[in-house]
């Protein structure tokens, strides 16, 4: 048992120091009838590193890795290249095996990194303050709705129909228990988002309007009009972003009047990982809302010798101090994913982020044009960043399954995302990133041609 350093001699010496005869004396508070008399039956015994690695490798081989296919999936999780140095740094033991920085004198590495991370996120989102991360985009979205309720003292949130359906489901699930009212809607399948329809749903009881940007169909539109309409009714605008790379090319939500900006940070540094762990980003435009924010915040201060240093701060919002009155029950966040994001963003810098965004958009435009040229395929979007919706003259979901056998992962069918909406069966969401080659686009196009002929 390679992870256990005690020897049998150590064990008996230590029992003698303690004054116990056997290890079971130390479990005497466990009622005898509940104590197990040996290893739990039905589970395997300990195994060597080699044997375990082999078992896990066989399981991993039963999955089709994204890099082994022509790959076009997005819908809230994107395949981007992660530089090798990112993974090297997050595996340094001083970051990997540290705890939450509750003893700041010996956690300045994590704390300074979080301060830099918060600054990067705030700037990316066009906001004043970002927190030290949440679990993922979907839970950050619910926390934003809950925060808007605290700020406005209202409990009716209006969700755009073009919000990621998983995010909408998370919000609706939580609201069932908190008593909030969630006004959801089905996505309107049009070239541009239905801004007028959304604005019409805002009333005097609305705490916030939640829109996604770019939205679940890949569309982008100016948010100023929605922000003005929300503010006129005393509501906040919550903007959700699931593709942070987009903000290297598109106007920031905070610069278009968003009050709370949340999102998924997975694209920068984290990787696909079958959906988790990911990285929830959370920021507010106006610093006056800081004390209603959920989650950990890192702040600057000085030490007893006057040197600059960093600490977790404003913790009177948090559960370990405030208990049942806390702004959230969150404790652990996504520290290591925040580090991966921050390192990747540092490697990019503004120049690299803008280049990355431009390359994503260039390839997406190329793919959209090539797809639109195929008989039986139409591109829905007028505007998009690196993801757009197409209509195919067949059942998109069945087609995606069929193409997977040819190592083409063609996209996410809207029928998978919105299972209860009948009109979506021919729609497919296609994402293109810098990892997509022009050959991949050709492969997708010929596969579609074959399917649709």
């Amino acid at each position: 048992m390679r992870y256990l350093p005690l020897t049998d001699t150590d064990r008996s010496d230590m029992l003698a120091t303690i004054g116990a005869d056997t290890i079971d004396d130390l479990f005497s508070d466990v009622p005898e009838e509940a104590r197990l008399d040996g290893p739990i039956r039905g589970l395997p015994m300990h195994a060597s590193e080699m044997a375990v690695e082999k078992h896990m490798r066989l399981l991993s081989k039963k999955n089709l890795a994204a890099s082994d296919a022509a790959f076009f999936l997005g819908a809230g999780a994107y395949k981007h290249h992660v530089p090798a140095s990112v993974d090297h740094i997050i595996q340094r033991g001083e970051f990997l095996t540290a705890y939450t920085p509750y003893q700041p004198e010996i956690a300045q590495g994590t704390l300074q990194m979080l301060f830099e991370f918060q600054t990067q996120v705030a700037r990316l989102y066009g906001c004043a303050v970002a927190n030290a991360s949440m679990y993922d985009g979907s839970t950050a979205c619910w926390e934003a709705v809950a925060m808007a309720g605290r700020v406005t003292k209202r409990s009716r949130a209006v969700l755009s129909g073009a919000l990621h359906p998983h995010y909408a489901e998370v919000v609706k699930t939580m609201a069932k228990f908190t008593g909030d009212t969630i006004a959801g809607a089905s996505p309107s399948i049009q070239p541009e988002p239905d801004t007028a329809g959304l604005i019409a749903r805002i009333d005097d009881d609305t705490s916030c309007v939640v829109v996604q940007y770019p939205d679940i169909l890949g569309r982008v539109n100016d948010l100023n009009e929605i922000a003005d309409a929300a503010h006129a009714k005393g509501a906040l605008l919550v903007v959700v972003n699931t593709e942070p790379v987009a903000l290297g090319a598109l106007k920031a939500p905070g610069d278009m009047g968003a009050d709370i900006v949340v999102g998924e940070g997975q694209s920068i540094g984290v990787g696909l990982q079958f959906g988790g762990p990911y990285l929830g980003l959370f920021a507010v435009r106006d610093p006056k809302h800081v004390r209603q924010m959920p989650g950990r915040l890192c702040g600057e201060t000085t030490d007893a010798e006057g040197k600059r240093g960093f600490v977790l701060t404003l913790s009177t919002r948090e559960q370990h101090i405030r208990r049942e009155k806390a702004t959230s029950n969150i404790c652990t966040n996504s520290g290591l994913c925040a580090l991966a994001f921050s390192v990747h963003m540092t490697l990019l810098g503004e120049k690299g982020l803008r280049q990355l965004a431009a390359e994503n958009h260039r390839l997406a435009c190329l793919a959209a044009d090539k797809l639109a040229a195929i008989p039986g395929v139409e591109v829905l979007n007028t505007a998009f960043f690196n993801e757009f919706t197409i209509t195919v003259k067949t059942d998109a979901r069945a087609m995606v399954r069929k193409l997977a056998d040819k190592n083409v992962l063609a996209g996410v069918s809207l029928a998978r995302l919105f299972p209860n909406v009948d009109t979506l069966s021919s729609r497919l969401l296609v994402a293109v990133t810098e990892t997509t080659s022009e050959a991949d686009i050709e492969t997708l196009c010929s596969a579609l041609k074959e399917e649709l002929s």
């Binding site: 090319a249 696909l272 702040g299 600490v311 520290g335």
Partner: protein
């Protein structure tokens, strides 16, 4: 026990002649103790550490006229500078890899590197959550195999895998309880939590729409069964109990507590943060627990990562299993592991469980912390059923060894009542004038240790909760105990030098009041350096 410090030198013996700390350096560095500026002070928006194509300014875009023109203000560094920046920062952190990390209730055990290797296999790391299920059968099998382990280790009926961390798991368990109560038309409103509970417990209950009340503790540091029974009634939805509890003690009356709560129509939520003490020794399912989250980043060795990501699957009793969140995996009789999402939920329930599954809904996008599942399963397979039992035994042995090696020097409030479980609890009674638990903790930093958990649980004055875990050798424990004894003696003797500790950390004590009073939560450029344009003048590229 021999101290490693043979000369007996103490920080309190520091002389005033400056020789101890040496002359000041030009850089502010002290040999290997290296200062590191902020990223925004060394990088700039034109520097990048990646090679991407230059932007073609003539290219047409289709972004609806929403191009980001103003500078974003994101500083970049070249690759060598990036690696150096973060490597320098890393050296200002304490970590398990550097030494014993005795944070009570946090289970800072060794993080095996095989876990990391496996999680990075392309078949796990490079798989999209919405791929057609036929292309992710291995991932679903990992989730199902881990679920099977968790169910067997806890003796429970089902498990919800998607919660993202312990507190998210607590929320999941409480939402299952609320869904089960609502299904029988029972609108109970109160949740009972012991005063010694983790802060997440009452916060979670409040988020799930409940009001909370304290459960009184007995003198032996455990729930007062009779007082609890007296409070039970038709308004009590659930009791949230941590077992082993946050005083490091096993709740001997757990089964009787569960029976009483069930008889009164309520449910038992068990905070599984301390499962490491009992894994393989006793199963919560045999003690009447209805829901318990398991922190994979504690008991099952996935890295804490400086504050996450965690993973908090929740094991559920037969009464609560039908209400668990979507999506979930289920193996059918033909051996196939299915992914059940909103779409198939009703039909799958009809076909395979007589329509009993009535999920309360979705708690997160996608399927949970897959990257943690692969690590935890790797750990479980490495230890096996026999090794995990040994884990609990060694963890408890190490904690009792610490308890008995310190109890003559430090107030140990429950030491007389018997053994502790995986953590030893001390209080500040007996410290010299003006000295506090915080001072002792900072003194431990100078000794080269991360301090224990301090001021928690709240029920013991100046609490110090020490959890060594099973991955420490006897030699490491003996060195830790020698340091701990030394600092405890100084605290008892009123050694005023402790008030200024730490002396040797990268930073002296930090002013937390200033940080909260005038929050600085993001970097702001001072006036721009000569020759460089301001951020607003740079414009977009």
């Amino acid at each position: 026990m021999k101290a490693p410090n043979k000369s007996g030198w103490k920080p309190s013996m520091q002389s005033d002649d400056g020789m101890q700390s040496g002359p000041a350096t030009n850089s502010g560095n002290r040999a290997l103790m290296l200062e590191e500026p902020l990223l925004f002070e060394i990088g700039n928006t034109d520097m990048t550490g990646v090679d991407l194509p230059e932007i073609d300014p003539s290219a047409t875009t289709r972004m609806g006229g929403l191009e980001r023109v103003d500078s974003i203000g994101l500083a970049g560094l070249s690759e060598p500078e990036t690696v150096r920046h973060y490597t320098r920062l890393s050296r200002q952190n304490y970590a398990i890899d550097l030494g014993l990390f005795p944070l009570g209730s946090c289970t800072m055990k060794h993080n095996p590197r095989l876990n990391e290797k496996v999680a990075r296999m392309p078949g796990f790391a490079d798989v999209h959550p919405l791929q057609p299920v036929d292309t992710v059968r291995g991932a679903l099998e990992v989730i199902n195999e881990l679920a099977h382990w968790l169910i067997d280790l806890t003796g429970m009926h089902g498990v919800a895998m998607s919660p993202k961390a312990g507190a998210h798991g607590e929320l999941c368990g409480m939402l299952c309880i609320r869904a089960a109560l609502e299904a029988r038309g029972d609108a109970r409103k109160v949740v009972l939590c012991p005063e010694s509970a983790h802060g997440t417990n009452p916060a979670t209950a409040a988020f799930a729409g409940y009001t909370t009340e304290d459960i009184p503790a007995g003198k032996d540091g455990r729930v007062d069964l009779e007082a609890l029974k007296a409070r039970l009634g038709p308004d009590i939805a659930a009791v949230m109990i941590t077992n082993p509890n946050t005083c490091g003690l096993f709740e001997r009356d757990m089964k009787a507590i569960s029976d009483a709560v069930h008889a009164a129509g309520g449910f038992v939520y068990c905070d599984g943060a301390n499962f490491n003490a009992i894994v393989g020794k006793v199963r919560p399912g045999d003690l009447g627990v209805d829901a318990m989250h398991i922190n994979l980043h504690k008991t099952f060795s996935t890295p804490h990562g400086g504050g996450g990501p965690g993973s908090g699957p929740v094991v559920l009793s037969e009464a609560l299993s039908p209400y668990g969140p979507l999506p979930y995996t289920a193996r059918t009789k033909d051996g196939v592991v299915h992914l059940v999402e909103e779409e198939q939920a009703d039909a799958f329930s009809e076909e395979h469980s007589d329509g009993k599954m009535q999920s309360f809904g979705r708690m997160t996008a996608f399927h949970g912390q897959m990257g943690m599942f692969t690590r935890a399963l790797t750990y479980m397979l490495s230890h096996g059923a026999d090794g995990l039992r040994q884990v609990a035994e060694d963890a408890v042995l190490n904690a009792n060894y610490v308890l008995r090696s310190l109890e003559d020097l430090l107030h140990a409030p429950y030491a007389d009542s018997g053994p502790c479980m995986h953590e030893a609890l001390f209080g500040d009674k007996g410290f010299g004038d003006d000295l506090s638990t915080l001072d002792l903790a900072k003194g431990m930093i100078d000794e080269g240790y991360h301090p224990m958990t301090v001021y928690f649980p709240l029920v013991v004055h100046g609490a110090m909760l020490v959890e060594p875990t099973e991955t420490e050798s006897k030699t490491a424990l003996d060195q830790f105990i020698a340091s701990f004894r030394s600092v405890a003696q100084r605290a008892n003797a009123g050694d005023a030098s402790l008030k200024q500790a730490p002396y040797y950390a990268p930073r002296r004590r930090l002013d937390e009041t200033q940080a909260a009073r005038k929050p600085v939560l993001a970097y702001r450029e001072q006036s721009p350096p000569a020759g460089k344009p301001t951020l607003s003048e740079q414009g977009g590229s």
